[in-house]
Amino acid sequence: MTKRIYTGCFIALLLLVAASCKKPDFEAEQQAQATGTISDYLNNNFDLSLFAAAVRKAGLMDSLDQAAATFTVMAPTNSALNKDSVFNPSDFDHWPEDSLRYFVRTHILSSKLFYSDVPLSSDNRYSNLNGVQLYLSRSNAANGTVPFTVNGVNVIKESSLSTTTTARFGATQLNGVVYPLPNTIKVYPGTVQAFLQSRPYFSHLITGLKKFGYWEQMGSDGPFTVFAPSDSSFERRGMTLDSIGRMDINHYDPVVFGGYFLKPNHVFVTDMAQLPPVSGVLSLPFQTPSANYKLIMCQSAMGSGVGIVTAASASTSSLVIVSPYFSNPYGTQGTPFLGEPYWVLSLTTLNGAYINYTCSNGIVHLMADIVVMPEKVTK
């Protein structure tokens, strides 16, 4: 009897041992997340039709159609391209082929980059197809109004009908991710010096920078942030090429042209919202090349513009402003960016057409007026 029980147990044990040896194959087949490629997405999206046309004309549509490849496409919407005077696909016919290729390749990364994989910090660098590094920044600041930017362009959130407040970004395709942008990314392959030189309407600024000994360094490492008014802005304030050439460098503080750039800073406008001062601090002034003056950008009295204040007043609530709009009401005292309003509630509502030109050694912002009034900065 006992023997039979033990035998039974032994058999049961053997069975258990044998059963445990079975290795079931739990590997499930990979489920496709999306059915289309990036090309399909661009071609079928009415809001991206202009960019799709640019991609097609640049000959990259086939590459973006390969299901096995991986890409991340920062796709400017039609309204973004409209800001750059592109209204019809035929407008790209006026672009030199190389420029168009460079423009399209600027917006494409050769890897699949999900929003959640970008570190929660500023200026994470990723190379685009031109081999130029784009600056991707994430931030939880400012109540999440600028959670994700590329070279100072605020990436459009994925629209959602759900009540969740967590922002989602990007449309995942078979071969990558597409992030729609409200502005084009403007990357210039040369230095800020070369950028200013390549545009004919910066001759007054260049003359001034040369006069005060700043021009040579603009070709060096930097990084620089340049605030560049056009020639007409100087002319309007009575500063001609001739009068700039005759300025007495012993009479003026060097900020008279040193106020047009920051070094070593590269500051996108959205950085100001992504890295705000701690509560209780009115503004974070930047040091200009002159020790006596500081620059305040998109903060406190300057609204959505840029202004120069005396260093002594920079940390107080009563700023001594030497910019042309010093007498305006508080919040509108800065020089606005070109094509932007004086004062907006949020930096994200800036139009963005003339700000954030990324050069190899810095950033250039086009300004609507001069930044320093010469008669206010005499020694």
Partner: protein, 436 residues
Amino acid sequence: MIHFDTIIQRGGMLLCCVLLITTGCRKTTYNVIPEAAYLRVFNSLNYDVDVTTKDQPPPFLAMIIDPEYDASGLVTGGKIVGDHLDQRSAYAGPYPANAGNTSFRNTEYPGSKKVLVGPILNGFNLSSWAQIPSGRHRVLFYSRPISEAPFFSLPERDRKSLLVDSTIDFTPGEVYTMEVLQKTVATQYPLPITLYLRKEQFTRMPFSDTMLYANFYNLSAEGYAAANPGAHPSGLQGYVNANNKCRAFGDTMNIYYSLFTDDCPYPYVDGSPTGNTLIPGFNNLWLGTVVRSHVAGVAPYYSVPMFAAPDTTGGILSRQWELFILMRPGLFPLPGPVAVDGSNGMAQANAQFGAIGCSNGSNDGKGTTSALARRSVPRVDFTDLIASSWLPNLIRYTASGPYVQRSFSTISSIEIINNRVYMMSVQRSYPPPGNQ
């Protein structure tokens, strides 16, 4: 005839024996560092990271001792790696309180790193010091992005921001405190950085158990006080948060101390007030002078009495707190709790005067919210504030023997670095808690 169950029993026993024999053979090898020196490292680069400084190398470091390089000259490894070295916290206590911290941010080395640490040396517990092999070593510090990724998994371009490259000769059995400091004030990035190494002397000095000891260093960047005069843009924020932030102290300052009664309870209870009553006879007593310098060397330890409590706790729980007043040579503190006469009292440190309060109100150096601290921080006539910045009390309150809380004196180094003050404490070992 052998029964079937007997076979199973015997087989089972045999199996057990085999198992016991095989596991019994396992030899545990202990990691031993022969001729070890003891090293504690702080990242004292305390500049704020904001939009104006975002192009600076982040003050987040990787320490690499005896680096290894690949053919292209890229650092690929090291004998000792102290990764994720974050800006130091206000208070580095006698015991590695953050050893079990799971955050990747390490406010000191060894901190939360799992490495061999020092023994109890002459009664001092060195568990906050890592053991390192003595002899000549090359020490590198790299700035690295603030992320969880280990330094050697970072992309190549993120492993090239070298801040410090130095060779140091460590003597066996010595206790070293190493700090990465800002050398001078500069508008160029990266800022000039210097490495500071202090061969600690506390393990070989006689200390009394009934006295509190503190020494003072001013390790600020050269020219910092001159470049940052005046009030803080955010007003008295540093003070009312009872944290270690303030303004720059002067480069050469005399130190005086005052003792006060009725510190708030430990651990800190939100809003509980810190007393402003002086202990008679202990007002503005001169200790010595602190001079801004990056020269290595141990500053003299000053002793401050630790009074037994006059209450019902059997005299084991002292509730005094300490105030260190710094005055420019030629200025003298006024008698009374507030050393200067003027609006806000000592609230904002400057080149002329400042004061460091050591109280439980600082919540172990973490600071408090301003609303609560406003009720906690001591003041006279509401407006006259007694100190400019706050550090933990020099007295530690610890469970020991039959007592739930008992006061122990510490030996502390107070370091003024730019616009912050820091404290590092060591303590003699004490009887463990128990019901004797």
